[in-house]
């Protein structure tokens, strides 16, 4: 565990130092190049703001109204035969929409069912293997002005379903 922690903590500083040292050796004017590049950061932040706001608005209305719970209920009959514990469905559904929301749901699942239960393990695995699809799409496409996302949603959702099924499968296989 300590080794993993170390790798995670050191990864970014190592990347930064490599870039800086390499630049130094090659005689790049580091300070000038850095500030020149950094200027773009502000433009990007302002550009993604409208898309972030749009997504936050829709996701939070859907979540806080309880609408999300109804959507989950519709899918119960499909997921049960696949051996997916119904307790993890809220997480499976909120994950594509909201990072902080899914973290809250994960906490809830783990405290309710215990971290070392099958449900707790499946939920933990799922959390780490899937990403907030709609949020990422909104800001990435929004930042460069793409309006037609083509097959991105379909492929991402297929990948998300694969993550859910793989999480259930590997946990059932590995633990007991």
């Amino acid at each position: 565990m300590r080794i993993f922690n170390m790798i995670s903590i050191f990864a970014i500083p190592v990347m930064m130092t490599t870039i800086l040292i390499h630049g130094l050796i090659k005689g790049v004017k580091l300070y000038d190049a850095f500030t020149e590049g950094a200027q773009e950061g502000f433009k990007t932040a302002v550009r993604i703001m409208p898309y972030l706001i749009a997504i936050f608005l829709a996701v939070n209305i859907l979540r806080k109204s309880g609408g999300m719970d109804y959507i989950i209920r519709v899918f119960l009959p499909i997921t049960r035969p696949l051996g997916i514990p119904s307790e993890i469905l809220p997480l499976a559904f909120i994950r594509p929409f909201s990072g902080s929301g899914s973290l809250a749901v994960l906490k809830d699942i783990i405290t309710t069912y215990g971290p070392d239960s099958l449900i707790g393990r499946v939920a933990s695995t799922m959390m780490g293997s899937a990403e907030t699809i709609f949020y990422t799409m909104a800001i990435y496409f929004g930042a460069v002005g793409i309006q037609k996302s083509r097959h991105t949603v379909a492929a991402a959702l297929i990948s998300h379903i694969a993550a859910i099924l793989a999480s259930v499968m590997i946990c059932r296989l590995l633990f007991r």
Binding site: N5, F34, A45, L62, F134, A143, L174
Partner: protein, 191 residues
């Protein structure tokens, strides 16, 4: 996106109305929307740092040598990106930041990658194959050590909080491969 967005809002409004919780709409308008702005602003700092570093790496030639190493992989996944294009290094660095769970750095580098991909895109309003592929890989998140999840498990007194590392790597690998295949299979379609 347009349809999904309006459906989310209208359905949420309807449920809120029917369950007598219509005040949550105001709550969202006042509180949560502000969060989006705060998040975007808080991203500015890390964004600027990485774009600054990328500019150094571009000038020092590090990006060129970097993309040379990963050329075979990139050629397979993104055949439309020319050799030595800055998009390659932005994509690779985004993947690395993702792997090590540095979320905000990953976003900053990912946005840079999207800008580079946009310069190669023939129709600026329609996503290119490379963009779809990049997003799908990015979203199926190849994270090596899910630190937040381990922390939550440890807080809940798990006897072995990190036991989910192996299962996570397995699930994430499966989902990434499935995503890549799905993306490749649908690339031919126009809309």
């Amino acid at each position: 996106m347009n349809i999904i967005w309006i459906l989310m809002i209208l359905f949420g409004m309807l449920v809120a109305l029917l369950s007598g919780k219509i005040e949550i709409i105001n709550e969202v308008l006042i509180g949560d929307v502000q969060e989006a702005v705060v998040f975007a602003i808080s991203l500015t700092g890390i964004m600027a740092v990485w774009l600054g570093l990328m500019n150094i790496a571009k000038k020092s030639g590090l990006i060129t040598s970097f993309s040379r190493i990963f050329r075979p992989v990139i050629k397979l996944l993104f055949p439309s990106i020319p050799v030595n294009h800055p998009a390659i290094s932005a994509i690779m660095m985004n993947m690395m930041a993702n792997m090590f769970g540095a979320g905000n750095s990953a976003t900053a580098l990912g946005l840079k990658a999207m800008e580079e991909l946009q310069t190669l895109n023939s129709n600026k309003k329609v996503a290119s194959n490379a963009m779809c592929m990049f997003l799908v890989i990015n979203m199926s998140s190849i994270q090596l050590i899910p630190l937040t999840v381990i922390k939550i498990r440890a807080d809940a007194a798990s006897s072995l909080p990190e036991e989910i590392i192996v299962t996570t790597i397995f699930a994430t690998t499966v989902s990434t491969i499935v995503g890549i295949l799905a993306c490749k299979a649908m690339e031919g379609r126009k809309s």
